[in-house]
Amino acid sequence: MDFSTVLSGFAVAFEPQNLLFCLIGVTVGMLIGVLPGLGPAATIAILLPITYTLEPTAAVIMLAGIFYGAQYGGTITSVLLRMPGEASTVVTALDGHALARKGEAGPALGVAAIASFIGGTASILLLTFIAPALAGAALAFGPAEYTVLALIGIFLVGTLGSGSLWKSAAAAALGLLIATVGLDPLLGTPRFTFGTDQLADGIDFTIVAMGLFGVGEILYNLEHRDRPQPAVPSFGRAVPSRLHWLRSRMAILRGSVTGFVLGILPGGGATMSSLVSYAVEKRVAKEPSRFGKGAIEGVAGPESANNAAATSSFIPLLTLGIPANATMAVLFGALMLQGITPGPGLMSEHPDVFWGVVNSMYVGNLLLLALSIPLIGVFVRMLKVRPGILAPLTVVITMLGAYSIRNNAFDMLLMIGLGLLGYGMCKLGFEPGPFVLAFVLGSLLEASFRRSMRLFGGDLTEFVQRPVSGTLVAVLVLTVVVVPVLRTVRARQTERTAVD
């Protein structure tokens, strides 16, 4: 590998103009991340015309900054308002918001920012050294592999719940059911669309997440507005304590690697990475019962994972010309508009663009960390605003965000309906987490399975015969069948010894 091009990439990244656009990008990104419903894909599309006049490297540095900046910003609403704007921050909302309720919003956001920074930076380092070697990994994942991956994900969703297993499963099943709304992915048959083509393309994830979590939470709190609010204890410091740090550091390390690896996979990588990270942390924890009630590892792990995944999701785009998600698709368009074709030739034909953009991410992550830490204090103070004032403001921002996804008022109505569902689920003891994550994984599972069946001519054994999907099947069997059985056996033995 020729490191002179890597180094000259630093020179590009540190040009004053590029530094400026990096700063603009991450600031805008953080802002839209905080505003639920406004996604990086739409924002980048809106800003595309501005980039026509920019030099290609500066343009892409800014647009990339919007993407990973949004990941930082999204955490803030997940923790403070329990309103995840991206699939990858759903699990952050679980323990992050529980911490905020305990008065530890500052440390939670502090750890999240540091975890994001470490995850992002580690991922850039890995990208620099092994991106070309790993690029092919994205191609080793065909429909069969995605089927098994999604199946693993759905079983992991089961570990999220902190209450009844049956209720978690019911919530997940409902999420899977809602995911089938829209035209059948292989045959185009309308399913549960009730004759309207507003539902033809299915329901947007953000609408589901904002409805069930955000609006549902606001409605729930509204019912009990007369109850004296449990005064949020001291706001604590933005700086995490020694204990927070001790508990988080291994989680951050594991999360970064998980995120980097899964982020390379186009479609579902980032969501899976935060989910896997959360499940792993819960497994290795000494007291798994703390999870769901404010375990800092449940914030640190997934946050480092989703930021690492955000960075490594650039790999398929930059090395193969495959956009891994909606934002990457818009970036693909942005590069094409600049006369640069993303793909295998990019690294050799435009090394200045490739390494300039990659290295600007170090700068961007540093800027984001520097922006986040002082802002945490400001955001945490938001919790001091009376709920009577905070709730309507949040609702309006959420509604405007819901509208802006497709510029469609129908989506606002849909979100209100899902908000009522979220409220009802709360009252009846169902958790929204399994619902929302199963919703994301459901379409992936069904479409991939059916594509596999077409490719294999209906032969189910192909799943175990292919090397990658076979390995994943083994992982699935191990985690879903073998480990729980062993645990039960061991638990029985301990019981017996205790009785003896």
Binding site: T196, D197, M336, R406, F410, R454
Partner: protein, 331 residues
Amino acid sequence: MNPFPRRGLLAAAAVSPFAALAACQVQGGADAAESDFPKRAVDFMVPFDPGGSGDLISRAIAKAAEEPLGQSLAVTNKPGANGAVGLKELLAGKADGYSIALAVKSLFAITPLAVDDPEAVIIDDLRIITTLTNEAYVLVVHADSPYQTLEDLLAADSVNYATTGVGTGSQLSAQLLFTGAGIDATDVPFDGGASAVTALLGQEVDAVSASLAETMPQVEAGELRPIAVFSEERSPFLQDVPTAVEAGFDVVVDQRRFIVAPADVPDETAGVLSLAFEEAREGAEYGQFLQDNYMDRWEVDNLEAKTHLSEAAAEYAALVEDAGLQLGDGA
């Protein structure tokens, strides 16, 4: 049954914000001459997701048309159901020329073959303001594939091919070709061009039919090999690749994009818009955009365009009928 009163919503949407704005502005005479058009920004609706080909071309032409039009063009994305959601809203709005939209051929010629919608937008509801592009579909195989030519591929025992989705030109072109050739071929619809191309790069499938914009980057990088284009004549971007017609299969499938307004927009207003867009098409920057995105020009008058669209719809329907194809499951 239906919890969401769509009719009501559409009626609500009918009064566009700009109409409300016009009501507030009390300037000029009550009914100033039509030639005043446009007095304010024109709303250009793109019924597709931000960042896709439809979005990019709309933004490119909108930028080029602002100067000749003398007003700004506000691009708004309103995606859903291959453009049907947006166009239905356009039709529910005022036909005053201040609301125009992008439309694509596949919605009128191919979608009806796959999806049964009694309330589908038909081309007679619309007035074509200007025509923009013609994008050819191309059949590609992996660079390491044993199939060097279309003949090789059609000699195979069985073929798995990826398409970019149900009811797309990608699916129609490939199905017509393989059925015409009478070989055992399995259609695997993916979710858009990127995932179909990924499946081919990973050699999960033997071939993909997709638009030039979706495949050319990989073709130029030497990862994929084009073996046939589904246009009448060879594509200027792929001079060496034969058409399916040359190989003896009468399969011509392409995607065409054009700008529409509701059918009863005043002639004079439509004329002003048409002129502005015609001038915009001559711009150098727009030309470069087409070149960079592998799009061919389709620049005909609106009568010819309309004829082309209705003929294509009839032709595709007949072809599908003859071949006994089932694109989707619904219709």
